[in-house]
Amino acid sequence: MKVENAKISATQFMFSIVIFIRSSSLLSAFFFSITKQDSWLIVLFGTVVCIPLLWVYVALAKQYPDKSLIQINDEVFGRIGGKIVSVFYIWFFFTLTTLNLRDLGGFVNKSIMILTPNTVIISIFIILCAWSVYYGLEVVTRYSIVFTIISTAILIVSILATFNIMNFENFLPIFHQPVNSYIHGTHIISTIPFGELVVFLMIAPNVEGKEKGLAKYFYGGFFIAALLILLVILRDTAVLGNMLEFLSLPSFEALRLATLFETISHIEILFAVLLILFLFFKISILFYTSILAVSHFFKIKSYRPLILPASALIVVYSITIFENVIMHTTISRGTAPFFWAFIEMILPFITLMVSYIKKAIKKAAGSSKEASAA
């Protein structure tokens, strides 16, 4: 039984991954305060750490080419075990959607529309996302290439515009933070933006030509995104120097300082546009995967009836999830990476191992049967 029949091309899949990770550039403040001027190293470490993780995802997708993550769980852990594991994932997907929505509300509230209540921003945004999700996966991912081009163009413009105020001494000294902070930072970046790619296991069965090139596109998207994030971090560090750790929106402030000429200055609105674009994409993908997961969980034929209740749930959840920004930052820095690591890293790994073992047993059983038959 399949809920979603839409097919997306492998290129769209790749650029979806790019945008998905790139949208987390808002979160750089989480590790800037920990690793300071060495944050760009953290991106490199995180990338290296996540390569085996991606391998697990790709292996899972290859093992069960026609099944989404929830269906894989049913297959691997049996009916009851599979449901228990799936509950974790569904909770995770919903929480991610909520967190990103909350981030968006917070950002718009902090930078552009200061007096508009958060609830209004969040509700309007979820309506937009629900609309795009209603029309399905193709609609959500179709824009990925355009968004990537726009965002990369803006990134290049912003680097050029801030080039005259960059100070490359800001990167020094390298490797002089306590070792702990490198581990902490790497943990954050590998779980918060990078490991979230686990949601793409819900979409993977719908990729055209996945038999041949899924791994290539999966890795490709990941590396492009990591490179873009690296550029963002480098730009912010070079522009802001030791003020990095004080600011809650480093990229926003960096662009605010850009002055190409008297007339082309204060290009921070570009960042705002970009961020809203990104988060629209990311929330749509997350929203889509959340309700797709639920529909696979209950074996419902179409996910569409779930859109309305799920939107309502997400709005309420995102208003109540944190009492304030401080709680958000503390949790994202401290507790969340451990929860996420369990869901993003350990669970898929266990799933893959169990599926290998099952296969091996089956094979052994099969061969022993053959042997006994002979």
């Binding site: 508009t116 003020m243 004080f246």
Partner: protein, 389 residues
Amino acid sequence: MKQISRLFILASVIAAILFSSGCYDIRELDRVSIVTGLAVDKAEQPGNIELTIQIGKAGALGGGENVGAPDEKPVQLIDAVGESVMVALESLRNDNSRILFFQHNQVLIIGEDQARTGIIPYLDTFMRNKESRFEVWVLVSEGNAKDVLETEMELDEVSAVGIAKMIKNHTETSKSLGVRLLDFLSKITERSASAVAPIIKIIKEEDIHRLSLSGLAVFKKGQMTGKLTEDQSIGFSWVMGDLKGGNLSVETEKGSAQLAVMSSSSKLKPVFNKDRLQKMKADITGKFIIAELTGFKNMKIEQVIDLLKKGAADSIKKLVMDCYKKSQQLKSDIYGFGSYIYKYHAGRWKTIEKDWDAVFSNLALEVDIKVDIQDTGKTGKSPEMEGIR
């Protein structure tokens, strides 16, 4: 029929969304007061500050002769006393019929008395507030900061805007240097913990008062420790390598000259003797063109240039050392030597971090100056030199 009514409902909903949204937190010009300048002074009550806000009046500004009453001042000053910036702002809000709008704020002027007491707790508000910007110019006023905002300028009716323009011009001629709030905070929170800000003062000539930028205020850990004169601040710029213009006067025994600075650069290097910091070395390069020559009778231009190069190096050295001695006296590492050592020699920095103040005030500075005179201007000779009789 049903479809048409549905369409109608849809259209009206869309129209409602389009036309009535976005005005949620609208602020019309007649509802806001545009803040152009801020001044922080020490209040008479101990522990309190006096916050003065300069508000530009849109009606009295620029809009031709018929707009506004003829005698109406283009700016309004309001002030309040409070134990913190926010407390003072609150009481200002209560007394004002309009919303204060901070996005166009140009300058933040700190009175000398308050600067000497300490400014860090008051800067926090400007950093945290959603509306304020980091590019605000930070200045220190000789005397009351409020008076500076009160002084009218001849050409720029809003003095805060005039001061912002002045800073830009002066930075080009290197007489003073502009310091933005972000740079200031960045310097204060660095390893060296010292920063500078330009000094603004009121010059009283008969019945005319005008504003003038002169010299730099030196801050250490958020407290003003002393002042640099104009010449010393040029010496400071030479070491930092960010002198972009202005003139250098050179005196030699044969004649004198004014050299226009084209560009300058500087390279710092700490010299270590077996892990002990021995001295700092600064390699300064200056590129000039000749702007004015007097004297040098019966000399060839090549000889003059040789003389000038030597003379220029000497005068730069004097400016640099003068400033350096002053900063050592104030125990304020305004050059950021400490940060520099931390950046390039982080291991060694740990050993001197604790008593950096003592180390800095006894640290020798070796200056190596390279002068390059690139052009002689439109003429290669001068009326007093050989060749013209």
